[in-house]
Each structure stands twice: as C-alpha cells, then as structure tokens.
Symmetry: C2
Subunit: 409 residues, 2 copies
C-alpha cells in the first residue's frame, strides 16, 4: 500500500509553525507495511488543496491529511475532501449535539462557528476526538482510503493510535517494513559511510547515513513477508555495523545521550545531580525529560551569573582565581551539585558561547567519591547548536567515565 501525507495550513507555508505531524506519521506507516513516497504540503486554499488531493489520489492508495479541521472559515479540509470524492457536506445532528455538550462543559458556551466541525459526507466514518473539538474522518471509496486528522499534534496522535491503527491493520496486505537506527558519535558522516561501505550496497536491508545533533546515525531498513524475517535481517546488519564501528556506537532507536547515561547510573544504583551555566537549563531538562529519570537524577542547578554560582555554594576564590568560566569552576560546580543534592555523582557544565563568532568552548567537570575529572570541548555553530553540543559532550564524557568504572569492577 502506498501512502501520501498532505499537511494542510497556511501557517505551515508562512513558517508560523513547524510540521511535526508528518514526522510522527512517517515513522508509523512502515510498521503497518505502508510505503510513503511523498509529503505534499498545501495552504488554506480549496482549489490548490483539491489539486493536491487529486494528484495524491492518482499515485497513492492511502491519503492522510493533517490540519484544516478547525471551526473557522480558513479550515477547508472537509470541503476539499467532499469535492475530491464528489459528495456534499451536511450537518450530522447527533455529532452536533455531542459537540455542543463538550463545548458547554469546557468553555461554558457554544460558539456557533463550531457547527462546521459537525459537518460530514456520506462516505465518511467519523472518528472521535477525546482531546479537542475536531472529529476526524475515515473515507473509503473506489479502492482508496482518505483519512483526515486534526492539526494539533497530541489530538492527531491520539486519534491515530485509537481509531486509525486498528482500522489500517486489517488493510495491510503484503509484507512489512522495519527499520532500526544505530547511533554513533565523534565521526564525520563521510567517514562512517566509508567504514560501512562493504555492507552498504545491499538492497535488503538498505543502509543510509545522516547527521543529527548528537552524532551520525545509520538507518537499517528491511522488508520481510513476516515480522520475524525483517527482524532477522536487521539484527544481522546491526551486528555487522557494531563489528565495524565498535566503540563509536552509543545507542539505537529511541536511545538518547541522557537515557544511556541513565541506564549506566541505574546499573550501579548511583544518583546524579547537575550544575550548569552557559547551557541555560538545557542540561537538566535533557536529563530529566527522559523516562524513569527521577530514579537516578535528583535535580539540577542553573546559575546564570557568578552571584548565583556563589549563592549556590561555589567558592568565590575559584571564580576569582581561574576566571568565571574555566575547568576549575566546572569542577567546583560538579562538587556543589553533588554536595547540595546529596548524590553520588556531580556533573558541572560551564563554558563560553560567542554568538558573534559562532564559536565557543565547553568545560565539563565530573565528581564522585570514585573519580574526579574534567574535559574541554571546542564548539562551533549557532547559539542553540553550541548549547546542545555542550550538553551532548557532557553526557558522552559521563558515559565514558561510567563505562570505564563499570569495567574496573
């Protein structure tokens, strides 16, 4: 089955929002054995949207729109789908009653324009929206399926999981596609590509490399008649990659630099606290945002200025003696975090980030009863990339130390 995604909204074409829905759906489709060849974004213009829908109809079996299901005049996805399948829209009275109850409960009133969200066409099965007011549509006609999902991404995801996946699972016909991502760090893309070239020419599984903020990723994609066949092909390929790239591999799939550090800390029943300056809270929110992080991550301190560092307990003499951003201060920050939050390990991250020259450096301090060490890293890129790199560098340094410690035991 071939699919085409059609994100709808002038707000996307004007760059007012970033379309993250397509990335979510693109991830989901292969798991159902569905190929995605095109994503075609259109604005809130009915003629151009109908053109886009027609082209998709000619080259895909499954069309999924996101957005344009709101209550306002510029929400035209319902009308465009009606035009595509040549059916008229009518208010579904039962749906309108339910919608009015919902609006009364949450808003205390019923804006009349919401009636547009209760219109439907004969071929459409309505999919409920537990989180918002826009119901979705499942339209099946002439060997095609057209699915209309709401734009807000948590509503879209919920409707996808609860209503769309169960219906689509029955339709998937032949073979499934699985993919797995192997994540490396501190290697250039062309270098990774050269190293894996002996195994990268196969047509099943295929191998592709691409750059991410936390390193170069390799994506293995396998097709199989059965899930187990695809899994076997992927496992084989992953082992070959691990043999070639060895210590440069730090994770797979949903692993993040934070989660791999968390697993290592968890394995030793150790707790972590952080203190940061130039990374502006990105270090603690990156670590704490991970699943189960509260088991090993007790908390973090962000000190935006020297006074705040000193107020938290960093010795003013170290700041005066070595400069406010220095490896010595990073080490003192690691100690301060560990002491204040009573943890086994402290991680301190400071540095200089210069947005004028797009360059900087990060100072990483690590402290525990077993080890005390510091690292320095050069940074390049814009402000947000440098912050991100400093956070990743700190987590990879911590990972390195934890792996060495584990091996010592």
């Amino acid at each position: 089955m071939k699919a085409e995604l059609i994100p709808v909204g002038t707000e996307i074409l004007l760059g007012n929002i970033v379309d993250t829905n397509s990335s979510f759906l693109a991830n989901q489709l292969p798991l159902l054995g569905i190929d995605l060849y095109f994503i075609s974004t259109a604005g809130d213009n009915q003629r151009r949207l109908v053109d886009t829908l027609n082209r998709a109809w000619n080259r895909a079996d499954l069309i999924i729109t996101t957005g344009g299901l709101g209550p306002t005049q510029d929400d035209i996805t319902r009308e465009a789908i009606g035009e595509l399948v040549n059916e008229d829209l009518k208010v579904d009275e039962k749906l309108w009653q339910e919608l009015q109850e919902l609006l009364r409960r949450y808003l205390g009133e019923v804006p009349h324009s919401n009636i547009r969200q209760a219109t439907t066409i004969p071929s459409a099965q309505v999919m409920p929206n537990r989180m918002g007011t826009a119901p979705g549509w499942w339209v099946e006609k002439d060997d095609h399926i057209v699915i209309a999902l709401p734009g807000p991404s948590d509503e879209m995801k919920m409707m996808w999981q609860e209503s769309v996946v169960p219906k689509l699972e029955g339709k998937a016909t032949k073979g499934i596609i699985l993919s797995r991502v192997v994540k490396t760090f501190r290697l250039a893309e062309a270098k990774v590509d050269e190293m894996v070239s002996p195994i990268s020419k196969l047509s099943n599984p295929t191998l592709a490399t691409y750059i991410n903020p936390d390193g170069v990723y390799l994506r293995i994609t396998a097709k199989g008649n059965e899930k187990t066949e695809a899994q076997r092909l992927i496992a084989q390929s992953e082992q070959q990659i691990r043999d070639i790239l060895a210590a440069y591999v730090w994770g797979v799939d949903d692993d993040t630099p934070g989660s791999v550090v968390g697993q290592l800390l968890g394995g030793k029943s150790w707790s972590l606290a952080t203190m940061e300056s130039c990374t502006e809270g990105l270090l603690c929110s990156t670590i704490a945002g991970g699943r189960e992080s509260c088991v090993y991550f007790k908390g973090g301190l962000l000190a935006s200025c020297d006074e705040a560092k000193i107020a938290c307990g960093v010795d003013a003499a170290i700041i005066d003696g070595y400069g406010k951003e220095s490896i010595q201060v990073a080490r003192a920050m690691a100690d301060t975090a560990r002491r204040n939050l009573k943890t086994n390990v402290g991680l301190g991250v400071g540095g200089n980030i210069d947005s004028e020259t797009n360059s900087g450096e990060a100072f990483i301090g690590l402290s525990s009863d077993e080890f005390e060490t510091t690292f320095t890293h050069k940074l390049r890129g814009n402000r947000s990339r440098m912050k991100q790199r400093a956070v990743h560098a700190a987590l990879f340094d911590l990972r390195k130390i934890l792996l060495e410690e584990v091996q010592c035991i």
Copy 2:
C-alpha cells in the same frame, strides 16, 4: 514570484528527522515578496525527485531544495537537478582542492567520497559553506531559478543569509508581503474567531487564527507596493484586534511568555529565581533560553524528588503536612528559590502529571517582599503538553501579578 520548496531525504519520509528547514524558509520568502504555495517532500530516489522538480518547474519560478548534498550515494539532489536542466555533472577541480584542504584541517584526512560534493553543472554558481562540506548551488536557466541548499539547518540558514538573500533581493519584482502575529491566551480558537469576525473578511490584510501551545495566535498578512504601505495596513489591523481582544493579548511576533515576563521584570529592575519539580527543567530552560535573560533571571533549581527539595531547603514539615505536590509546597519552593539565589522574586512550580489519564494539575507559587500568592491550574494532554502548559500558566500568572504591581505604583 512563486516559489516551491522541496525538502529531500528518505530520513524525512521515514520520520527519522523533523523538517524544520521549510518553516525557516517559509518565514523568509514573504519578506522578499515571494509567494509560497507548496512544499513537496521527496525521498532519496532520483526518478521521484526529478518528477517532483519537473512539477515544481511548471508551477513555480523559484525552486529551493534542502538536503541531499552530502557525500554519500543516497545524496542525489545534484544529479536530479542536472537531469532537470539537462546538464552533465563534472568535478570542479578548484572546488575539490578547497574541499580537500578543509577536510584535512578538520578531520585530518580526506574521505574520497567527498569528491561528489565538488561536482557541478555549467549553469550552477557554487555557494560556499563556511560551516560544513556541502557547497550550495544557484542555477539560473530559462526564466527559472533553482537553489540547492544543504540539509543541516545551521548550514542552510547561513548560506541563505549570506549567499541567497543578496541574490534574490535583486530579483524581487512587485510588491512585498509582511505579516505580524498577535498572540492571545485563555481563549478558545472559535471564540477568538467570533470576536474578530467583524474585521476578518477583508482580502488585504487577511486574518487567520491558529492554535499554539501558548495560546491562540492571529496572523495578519498584508500586501503593499512599498514596505510602508504594508506596515500601515498591519498597524491598523493590529489596533483593531487589540481593541477587541484587549487583555487577552499578551504579545506579538517573536514575543514568548518568557520574554514578556523578562521585560516586566527588567522595567522594575527585579531579579527572578525559580524552583520546579514536575516540569523537569522546562521552566528554567524556557526562561533562560530567551535573549538577555541573564539580566533578570539569576537561576533555577530542579528538584526531581522530595529529598532534593529538602536538600535545597524546603521545610520537610510542609511536605509531610500538605502532600509532596501541593500549593503549600509550591509556595515554599518559591521562597526557597528566592532565598537561595538572593533575588527579588521567586517562582515555584509543582504539580501532578499523570500520563495514564492524560490529566493533571499544576501548583504555582509566587513570592517577593511585595506579594505572595498561589494559583492552581488543571492540565490536559500528553506528558509534554502538560509540562509545557504548566510552564506557560506559571509565566502568565507571574505576568498578571507584575502588571498589577506596575499599575499600583
């Protein structure tokens, strides 16, 4: 001039990365008087990419591709553009020399596959890439312009600003389009739409509403022969919106909940510190990530568990007496932040976030010599939306108190 964006990469079609480049470029084009009607994403398949390029050629004057300029076999944008304009690729020896020097400097070696990045066609002018190894292309032929930009977004943005904008400015012909976004909060989209309906039917400027995590936005878009004409139309429309929506408007354009709070604090020369639990560092990274934030934001504490709250100085008796997440604890966290970091204002954010039921509540505590108050908010949505809502609720509560204080003086 009409443009079409073509993001290239199977990693987008498999959902391995989110395409943020399109949103950046979509934002930039109107400033040059260029209309964008379609974004057409294609994978690393030369035939399908050439099809997509051909369609864009027929409906647009300007085609911008992003991605597919890497050194590997699956980077096929150069070949596809060659096929589109019917020209052969050749290695540009001078470019290859420069690239080899760059690679030697940064990697200490020259992977031979990088030679693909030194290939070009006769119609292409090469655009340098200061941040990476992929040069861009500017191709002008038969009244069309085709621009190939690298995929990594900071390389793409730099090349856009330094090489593309100066060239495009000379090409922009008639009229420019400006837009302005007015941001509201605590109103439903349909309600905003009803309230502004008296002014939303105009064709210039146009008005559109859409939902964002921090409220409902209204986008005013005006066309004018001169910049001043478009500016005048927008100013008029903005005033009408402000008259209608009054206190529900909290900002415009690049304003964020953090930046508006920062302006109010700055105006009073007050400093802020935060302490948070369930928002997992998102509160401090949201505030600290803003421009100039270090002037008013001294720092933040993240306590993932009770021990960490107590270690930072929250009275254990309050946690025992009122429950670990409660308005009393939020108020104590505000006090603790203010005391530890020696600031005028303390903001404490706690709460319960239940990913099973997709519901929760946030407790906000505010503390200063002048005021001490708490707020409670119901939360709905998935985990990350609830965290984000708690952070926005806290910042809007702080804004409210600061505005009231300002009016008292």
